[in-house]
């Protein structure tokens, strides 16, 4: 019988379908969602595919419920996921915070469209990247990945699930309408070539187990419902046992753990792709669909003998500050094209510390940059 979990082989599919396949391949067995353009295709694929592998698809009454349900399913021991776009992402913020506070692994795919509010439902945007970082109230660490192609939608959804299990928290796949609706070749590797991180479970006696241990740089193993550990899981500030404790002393430990587990492991988490960076005088910093245009612009400039480079962000968060810091003294400018009025550009500007010019090429949404525009911007600094 054919392997229904990992559809090994070459496929011609769009990015949204590739996100769904990545989830199923890495073992996602619960999806809760609510229809929204341009992410609906992820849910549609899941509705058809999850029953084939014995998983559960449920369409909830809204995105608040979808996010809550995937947290519940995760505590029930299943790898779980939802997908949405801007308006739904806003609704999910409440329970994303619960997921961060309760250290609950799961994956949220945001196929970004242009906002604010209902904005341009069918057209591209990249203006939720700061919301991904700071959207839910309070402090927490954030992992967000930005695919540039359907292939990466598959690869990074797999990776997002692995990171969610390792760091025990919701992980974001920040796709966009163009990537989600681009149909291209996607190669799904054989099952044995796929890197899959399974949930790290406790083995010690109940009396020895601290489900929210904050001592080390990594989260505690996770006991799920029925494992016999009787864990109390709360969105209140809690001690290492999970008991609510309403004091500044425990708050200090609790929140610093949530932030530090990402901060201390940032170098392990961060992924970028560098193109012609060794001798670049002008570096384009781009992600998602915009990185594809930027790559074309950089290659065109190289063909004409200009020293342009591309730093493609695969992880948006944690942000690769150290790479910008290294590049800043030896480049003339960073060009940051993004489909918003300036979001990731602030991180570039902040970490360049005035050592290089930083240029935002903002589009408010509904269109992508042209290679020519980016080439012109590069040309201004050569």
């Amino acid at each position: 019988m054919a392997d229904k979990q990992v559809l090994t082989g070459e496929h011609f599919v769009h990015g949204d379908a590739a996100c769904a396949e990545g989830g199923i391949a890495v073992g996602c067995r619960f999806f809760a969602g609510y229809p929204i353009t341009p992410a609906t295709e992820v849910a549609e694929r899941m509705a058809r595919r999850l029953p084939q592998v014995g998983g559960v698809y449920i369409q909830m009454e809204d995105e608040i419920a979808s996010m809550a349900a995937i947290l519940g399913a995760s505590w029930g021991g299943l790898k779980s996921m939802t997908s949405t776009s801007g308006p739904g992402f806003s609704l999910m913020m409440e329970n994303i915070g619960l997921g961060m506070m309760t250290e609950t692994p799961c994956v949220v795919v945001n196929v970004q469209r242009a906002g604010p509010s209902t904005g341009l439902p069918t057209l591209v945007g990249q203006a939720d990247v700061m919301q991904a970082r700071w959207g839910s109230h309070g402090d927490y660490g954030c992992i967000a990945l930005a695919p540039s192609s359907p292939q990466e939608c598959f690869d990074l959804t797999v990776h997002a699930f692995n990171l969610a299990e390792i760091y025990r928290q919701p992980v974001f796949v920040m796709s966009d309408e163009v990537v989600g609706h681009t149909t291209e070749k996607v190669v799904i590797p054989p099952r044995e070539k796929l890197e899959v991180v399974e949930r790290i479970r406790p083995h010690q006696a109940q009396s020895e187990y601290l489900p929210f241990d904050s001592k080390g740089p990594m989260p505690a193993p996770m006991a799920t419902a029925g494992d016999g550990y009787h864990v109390h899981v709360t969105g209140l500030t809690h001690d290492e046992r999970g008991y609510p404790v309403i004091t500044d002393v425990v708050q200090e430990r609790n929140v610093r753990h949530l932030v530090d587990k990402i901060r201390r492991n940032a170098r392990q988490i961060i992924r970028v792709e560098g193109v012609h960076l060794d001798d670049a005088e002008v570096v384009v910093v781009a992600y998602g669909c915009t990185a594809r245009v930027a790559r074309q612009a950089v290659e065109d400039m190289r063909t004409r003998g200009h020293r342009a480079g591309l730093l493609r962000l695969i992880t948006l968060w944690p942000f690769p500050s150290h790479l910008i810091r290294e590049l800043a003294p030896r480049v003339k400018a960073f060009i940051v094209p993004e489909i918003n009025y300036g979001q990731m550009v602030y991180e570039v500007e902040r970490t360049a510390q005035g050592k290089a010019e930083v240029v935002l090429m903002g589009l408010m949404g509904g269109a992508i940059h042209t290679p020519r525009e980016i080439e012109d911007a590069i040309g201004d600094y050569l």
């Binding site: 809760a32 809550a68 349900a69 779980s80 419902a225 029925g226 109390h232 899981v233």
Partner: protein, 305 residues
Amino acid sequence: MKRRLRELQPFDKEAEERAIELGHGLHPDDKYLKPGRIPHIWCPGCGLGVVLTCFIGALRQKQFGVDECAVVSGIGCTGRVAGYLDMDTYHTTHGRAIPFATGLALAKPDTHVAVFSGDGDLFAIGGNHLIHAARRNVNLKVICVNNFNFGMTGGQAGPTTPLDAKTSTTPLGNAEPGFNLPYLAHASGAIYVARWTTFHPRQLVHSIGESFDRTGFTFIEVIAPCPTGYGRPNKLGSGLEEMRYYRDMSEIRYGADPADAEIKLRGKILVGTFEAADRPDFMETYRTQVIARAQAGGKGKGRAA
């Protein structure tokens, strides 16, 4: 940047264990309670202790092991129930206990998942989730403790506050009528609907047990005193006096039409089991229809129309 932070005070596991009362374990109910979590935070005269005790009574009566159950709560006074029980317990966000529990119940279909929350949590901010879970017939045992106000925040009006009742946000009397919860749960599709007061602990234990016997969405409303938040402005007296009110004004009527179950300020309280039906729950339908068709490759008898 450089960071200057206070020195962390590490978790002292031994000190925390020493702080657990030596008496823990002496009472037969203690095996259902998390060590070190009692005394609870509820006010004198509050009805929540009675409801918690009845829940434990039902677990004992059903001879459920604690690992066969999980409890999910929202936010509020009732939301704190989860934290006292020594089982897998989840204290979620305000109003979201039901969708969280939906995910948990579908991931662990063999676990008894109870949702313990208040009227404000389940019917104001969480109202939409409740009606949809009832419609889907997700296998959840919902216990709604109704004290007619938002107690945790200090006695504000809620979705069950009766017309004319006084609260801190309706100082001149409530201009809105309250929800009739059994009627709403019934109309939304709950397969089991009952209401009791904290004056009816034996009936309540029995009712919780009955709800555990059924696979699907069950709903039990428990009318409970809140002398601090709701009793005082409405001159209902102490918790004991509210219990006298329940004794005098409750009418047990099994099989009553839930449409008749509205509660008015100082009015009659209809109690009993109003609905006990059977229909396949979400998971059964999903397994026998959706998964079966998918695994048959969309072919054969199970094929969708």
